[in-house]
């Protein structure tokens, strides 16, 4: 059996590893366009902040896949064409054809780049692949003024990185609050924290970059800013070219349509990771929320099914987290805005709590915005900002939402308590109480 996996990121390598583990006699070829495997863009801001080389961004080294897992790994290999029988790959400067019986499309996503004048000037970067980290680190050495376009995850993580390197950082955001996929209550908290460290320009639209060879200035609808280095963090789009070549259906979200077995509309062609759609656990609708852990598990599911197993990927809640200095910000499920858009009649709670009992030293604040369906009392979503334990508290909500908990179930969850860790009623419990049941 000839297997080809296109894309050596988290999803592709998870699929390849699983297939080879279950069917060691199968020939599993992975084609990866860069010299990196099992990488993810999420580490790039930290490669800047902590100044480590891009190799470190790989979870596993290529040798692990080749020697320990028996995968036929082709680095620096770009698929230039594909049909339902073979693919053509450019590797070592030559074109080569490979036949395939089953394929995994794991081509990931790429940054969207604004269509403005000057976008091709030097020192304008996106944060996508490991080599970007090295290029940005190098350019950062001489840069004094850093402008960041967008204040999603990439934007705020890059803002932290450059500000901690003592650069003068300007962040340009079209929306009126940072992290625009969060509700306003959380956006306001993030705004306050960012304004202490960087020049945050909200409700402002990028119009052009200017400079000779390198970028020197950015122009917005409200002003202009000096820029020695620019990071563009204005979202990503799925890399669907290969899927289109083999005739796989593209879903309404713009990503590759798959069922729960990760099968595309074409027999024996699977898709996994950031290129593929998935199902939202609450709404049952197809969504495209490219994130590393589900991408990884989608690869795992594709691999098991390709190798003759039977497993379904149940979907996602869009659980995610970021931070700006000490402020941690997480979300899972639907925001109020999303829930209303989905037609739910919502009730929300916004609470402020201390993270420890009053007498225990070093308690810090945490803020929870929680959303329920007013008809069924089902918990729909939570967004948390705070200075500790945001990650796992977001996970507590995620598991509760996955389990279709009502606010009453959540209120009665048996959560830990001890003075060094939590108040006697955990903020999760308090938010369930405030949502009523």
């Amino acid at each position: 059996m000839e297997i080809v996996v296109v894309g050596g990121g988290a999803g592709g390598m998870a699929a390849a590893s699983r297939i080879k583990a279950m069917k060691p006699e199968w020939n599993v070829r992975v084609f990866e366009a860069t010299s990196f495997v099992s990488h993810a863009p999420c580490g790039i801001p930290y490669a800047i902040e902590f100044d480590f080389p891009s190799d470190e961004l790989m979870y596993y080294r290529p040798e692990v896949f080749v020697r320990e897992r028996g995968i036929d790994l082709h680095l620096n290999s770009t698929v230039v064409e594909a049909d339902r029988e073979s693919i053509t790959v450019r590797e070592n400067g030559e074109l080569r054809d490979y036949e395939w019986d089953k394929m995994v499309i794991a081509t990931g996503a790429s940054p969207k780049v604004p269509d403005v004048d000057g976008i091709d000037l030097q020192n304008i970067f996106t944060a996508d692949l490991p080599p970007d980290a090295d290029r940005i680190r190098k350019a950062a050495k001489d840069a004094e003024n850093v402008v960041i376009i967008g204040s999603g995850y990439v934007g705020i993580e890059m803002a932290e990185a450059f500000s901690s390197l003592k650069k003068k950082v300007t962040v340009i955001e079209m929306a009126d609050l940072p992290l625009p996929n969060f509700d306003r209550e959380i956006g306001e908290i993030v705004k306050k924290e960012m304004e202490r460290r960087v020049d945050l320009r909200l409700g402002e639209r990028l119009e052009a970059f200017e400079g000779k060879e390198r970028v020197e200035r950015i122009i917005t609808d409200r002003g202009e800013y000096r820029a020695d280095l620019v990071i563009v963090g204005t979202g990503v789009k799925p890399n669907t070219e290969l899927a289109e070549q083999v005739g796989a259906k593209i879903g309404k979200t713009g990503a590759v349509e798959v069922n729960r077995r990760m099968e595309t509309s074409v027999k024996d062609v699977y898709a996994a990771g950031d290129v593929a759609e998935t199902e939202h656990i609450i709404t049952g609708k197809k969504v495209w929320i490219p994130l590393a852990p589900p991408g990884n598990k989608m690869g795992y599911v594709a691999g098991v099914n390709m190798a003759g197993g039977e497993i379904e990927f149940p979907g996602v809640l869009g659980t995610q987290i970021t931070k700006f200095y000490d402020l941690q910000i997480g979300k899972t499920g639907l925001t109020e805005r999303e829930a209303v858009k989905e037609g739910f009649s919502v009730k929300t709670a916004f609470i402020t709590a201390n993270t420890k009992v009053h007498y225990y030293p070093r308690a810090v604040k945490t803020f929870i915005k929680a959303v329920k369906d007013a008809e069924t009392n089902r918990v729909l979503g939570a967004q948390i900002a705070g200075y500790e334990m945001v990650a796992m508290r977001t996970n507590v909500f995620s598991v509760a939402i996955q389990a279709q908990f009502t606010t009453r179930d959540l209120f009665f969850s048996d959560l830990v308590y001890a003075p060094p860790f939590t108040p006697i009623w955990d903020p999760v419990t308090v938010s369930a109480r405030v949502l009523k049941f």
Copy 2:
């Protein structure tokens, strides 16, 4: 309507507050034997370690209940006798009778004291009520050698407190590992951490205390130790005298039997908090696991039902946490030992994981022992030891177990990921994977 609530701890005050909120016209009297309300023993080790007065151990001051909530609060009032119509209370040195229509028994639990010679010597303490904290703090000033009997929560928290105050601490534990209600894998980790700080004597049995007026020495079956101050932390027993006086049935666990509405076997008599049994969510059996958050919620449930509402307390998983210096230790659900005892055919996983991505600074170790039912793949329990995020990761397991998750459900939980917070596969996900599905 005349309501009496006996016991002003977390459970009693939660019941009283709820009744008064729902039925402001009812007369709600609370009788509390000390001058403290809404207190819990869990803060006592920290009152020693951080040297704050016992008042601080109250969640709310008495005035809050009297002025804001309209509760008729009787402090320093001991119930000396009760029948199905009235109770006799000693207050301000006088005996007084009060009629009652509905009663809440919230008399809590008291430390078990070993029946050995010398137990009545001075400077031998238990950690039960807020005044104990003041007495211990005072005695600690001149103490050099502190001996702690037992290495459950009280034992290890007191060991931390006195060791951080630079006392010479000896801990005597009968079992062969500390925290004997955890499985061995976790006990070994705790042992190693404790041995760095205190003289931990395992498998050793207390035989007597010796001294003139004050304790001077303790004698075990394997030696003797100097002791200027002794903490006895060898468990607690429910205070069921009042329940017995009014004829309420005592369950097999030794605590007051209640249904999910917190009704005892006697009409209009409710019990809540550390004095009452509850149901184990996994086994459905009656258990007695006295802990503050469920005790609090049991009071809430009793109050709602007494005031004409309708709500059930679903039971507990015994979710709990403690720490010894930087080592945090949590558990929820059944240990392997408990699961086997309950007749489950178990499979377990014990994993060691880093808490962050390899390239992110300051990753620390975490250890998870997870238990599943080998027949149904249902997750039965988890015990976690580690240096960060143990509290909320324990809660993630707790919610998953409450929701009857299989290992597959847990594996597919949509958990947060970002380099500063977790590895790409959270240790929870890894343990689900190792347990298999």
